[in-house]
Amino acid sequence: MGAFIAFAVIAAALLASAFMAVSTKNLVRSVLWLALTLFCTGALYVTLEADFLASMQVILYTGGVITLMLFTVMLTDEIHRVDRASTSGRRMAGGLLAACVFGAISAVVWVSDLPALPETNTITAKTIGRSFMTEHLLAFEALSMLLLAAIIGAIVLARRRDP
């Protein structure tokens, strides 16, 4: 019962904040609603007993990505400007396609045979770290190369060109 209430509250907050993030006109507000969505996702990870991931979610997304996005919105002029309203035809087409995506996934969930919850949870930060250091070592190293490439790319792109 307690788990159900927690899930319901988190799910409602998640969907409401995601809806606000895609529909509000002011970009600063949109980014702040996204921060709430990402935080609620972290809370959802706690209900799935993935506590290490929940902490990473809050540190990296709410701490890192949201700060970056807010900086970008405020460094550009967009803070004074509202998003140009989409035409109602475009909004209708977008809503229709989104509803189709949701309907298709729900139909698949409806007909498929899903596993029940196992009693014990054996996944801890230790197991994740061990799998990164043993069988997924190559992926781990590729990820560090990717992060290096992203850092260098961001510096090259954002650097002011000399006149």
Binding site: V22, S30, A116
Partner: protein
């Protein structure tokens, strides 16, 4: 909670991301929508990892979190570059390469 509750929740989140990506005309708004869709995928990965008892799902989620952060960094510097050359972030204003 049954696994289907988590999958339906992530499907709803993904659909909201799709809606945002189709209706937003601002580059940062588009990035916000893409983040929503990536998060929906992550919720699915973590839920399946919990219900199947496999650590791979969580390792993969860490991987995608790092990927999304790198994508946001590069995307936002592209946005700054776009703003510097166009003085606008509307994606229609950057359409001169359109064939």
């Amino acid at each position: 909670m049954p696994l289907s509750a988590y999958i339906l929740l992530s499907a709803a989140l993904f659909s909201l991301g799709v809606y945002g990506a189709l209706t937003r005309r601002n580059a940062i708004g588009l990035l916000v929508s893409v983040e929503l869709m990536a998060n929906a995928a992550n919720i699915n990965l973590v839920a399946f990892s919990r219900y199947l008892g496999a650590a791979e799902g969580q390792a993969l989620t860490l991987f995608t979190i790092a990927l999304t952060v790198a994508e946001a960094v590069v995307g936002l510097s592209l946005v700054l570059l776009l703003y510097r050359s166009r003085k606008s972030l509307q994606v229609e204003d950057a359409a001169e390469m359109k064939g």
